[in-house]
Symmetry: C2
Subunit: 354 residues, 2 copies
DNA sequence: CAAAAAATGATTGACGTCTATCATTGCGGC
DNA sequence: GCCGCAATGATAGACGTCAATCATTTTTTG
């Protein structure tokens, strides 16, 4: 009925070897004949032996030390992600997981490299990093991996790097999803989408735009792209001007940040005209309020909650030498007014003592 | 730098008491003076002591025994959920979690009660059950709780029961979300939605419809509801007839099961006419194919993957005596053709040995 | 066939917690 | 001042694994 799970001692007995030998096999310490290795493995699978992780970690006094490296700045999305990491950190203390969040100057490969190397020296078990797509970062990640540190990329992939996993959305998919929804919303009628991005050179923004283009053509055309540098003021000015210049615009897709500026434009629109359909990225305080107020229609979100959970899970799996981690992509999620989740109550808590 | 987390021995020392007394306090064994209790608690928070769950479980040889009770039948959604539970079960062996899935006759409170009582006798730590909204079930859940078994309701809430938590979507929210998307898709034009449900007496289906109604009025009207009993044949017949009878229908919302029938109708539609916008629930094999083929437009999904993960997490938190579990609702998720996740590769694995 | 090398066995302490038992101390009541 | 009881201390074994050490056996090699 409730037979306790088999232990390594059971395995040894069944294989007809000593505990020491069984241990040598399962922990790959070498110095065991092939025949014995096989018989131990046979016993393992016959009994369904699974290493008791709790006991293993206990014996090693293992304290996982993980660090999430996020870009600094006042970006609302990363502020939220930071809060999520910190909340997770407190929850994980009981599992001997020491998780900390650090920030590093955004768009600065040299600073990132330095920070990562410092972490490596301090003896960290795993790192989650918001990548940047350059050679320096790729090399740094490779070096970290070589020194046995688990590295995962988060939110933004580092193509060509041998990170253990990428946790984040596929931006082409996200753009395509927006495209499909806009096609639906136009209901077969023609239309014209105004795209707003941070910069066309930013890979994620470009990918989103690309995904959009693939889906909406040919019924719907795309107006010249506004590059808002993720700054509210520039976005505000750019959108205002574009709307004035082109009255045929039926929809706006903001693929980057600086949406406070966009929302201001929408608030200022005359109530008489039908406003364009508006889609933007990331559920944060201001976008939530805009959606609730009916200023925008759709928020497409990458669900930082799930990303954080996946990262922690993944880092732990990598730190234990367990099964390969699962790599399902994060699916960008659609919020409309009706399915908004309750406002998060997370307060940012520093460590009270150390 | 990497000071190991404090142990209970550290706490005892700091509080100036013996290990035994510290243990009495943190485990609430009583027989300790108030003054001592306070000083131990002070030491706990001063040091930031957190019980090492791994060590605790190890010492108790704790094997969590959890059971998920799902309704039987050939329902694709529950088949998927079952597979997810089974996949999770294998992953959890290393954590000494014994998770099994059982089925019980659908819509049969007596059978459900009997099954639950049997489980209680067998000494289960936690149960996740797809509820049914009746007095018998409410009482059974109360009895389970009294005997110290953690109970969570899954997919379908049992209102008025004192389950520890409900993991599932709010069906009114789901219906409202569909409503909002349909309003968007009509782009200000009038329209007429054909609703298809299993039965109007089924609370979840009724809630979805209610959510829809609240959002779409007044521009969009709602045709008489088809009750398909979740059966393909009835759905097929009903929808065929309704479409023939009422050419003004611009959208179909299927809130229940039996969607294979609906999809057949859509396949049979003449290519000349513009087909209505179609929204239905739950991403399963046939709905996925229909979406990929462009026969339908939107799938609204309750994300059984996340539900399963939450259930397991919750049961574990309840079984350890840890912090109260988080009760964020599951947000119904929108899939269009572009953001479909990769097809799950889960194979249903029975336990090879016992 | 002896010596060297490889493989295996046997055993031990540590990890942090839980549970139990028994010993000791302090204190109030009478 | 002694009894009884409450509070506290001291200690030990168990949980399953890991990482050692040292002893013993088997195999290989020259």
């Amino acid at each position: 009925m409730h037979d306790r799970p088999p232990t390594l001692a059971d395995v040894a007995q069944r294989a007809g070897v000593s505990y020491a030998t069984a241990d040598r096999v399962v922990n790959g310490r070498g110095g065991v004949s092939d025949k014995t290795v096989r018989s131990v493995h046979a016993a393992v699978s016959a009994l369904g032996y699974v290493r008791n992780v709790a006991a293993a970690n206990l014996s090693q006094q293992r304290v996982y030390r993980f660090v999430a490296v996020l870009p600094d700045g006042s970006n609302a999305f990363f502020a939220r992600m930071r809060a999520l990491f910190e909340a997770a950190a407190t929850r994980m203390i009981a599992d001997r997981v020491n998780l900390s969040v650090e920030t590093v100057a955004a768009f600065d490969p040299a600073a990132l490299r330095e920070r990562l190397e410092t972490l490596a020296k301090q003896g960290v078990d795993g790192i989650a990093v918001v990548g940047s797509d350059d050679a320096s970062t790729i090399n740094t990640i490779a070096a970290l991996r070589d020194s046995g540190i688990a590295v995962m990329t988060l939110v933004s992939e580092v193509p060509g790097s041998d990170r253990a996993a990428y946790v984040g959305i596929d931006n082409t998919v996200a753009g395509g999803t927006v495209g499909r929804l806009l096609v639906l919303a136009h209901g077969g009628r023609s239309g014209r989408i105004l795209p707003v991005v941070g910069a066309l050179t930013a890979r994620d923004h470009a990918d989103r735009l690309q995904g959009l283009r693939e889906v909406v053509a040919p019924e719907i055309t795309i107006a010249p792209v506004i590059e808002g540098r993720d700054r509210q003021d520039l976005v505000e000015a750019g959108v205002t001007q574009a709307l004035r210049a082109d009255p045929s615009i039926t929809a706006i897709y903001s693929a980057g940040a600086g949406n406070v500026g966009l929302i201001r434009v929408l608030q200022a629109l005359p109530a008489t005209t039908r406003r364009p359909i508006v889609v933007l990225h990331e559920l944060v305080a201001h976008s939530r309020r805009a959606l609730e107020a009916g200023l925008i229609d759709i928020i497409i979100d990458q669900r930082p909650e799930e990303e954080v959970a996946r990262v922690i899970d993944g880092l732990r799996l990598l730190a234990d030498r367990r099964a390969p981690i699962l790599t399902d992509p994060i699916v960008p999620t659609i919020y409309v007014r009706e399915n908004l989740p309750p406002e998060p109550q997370i307060t940012i808590t520093g460590n009270p003592q150390r």
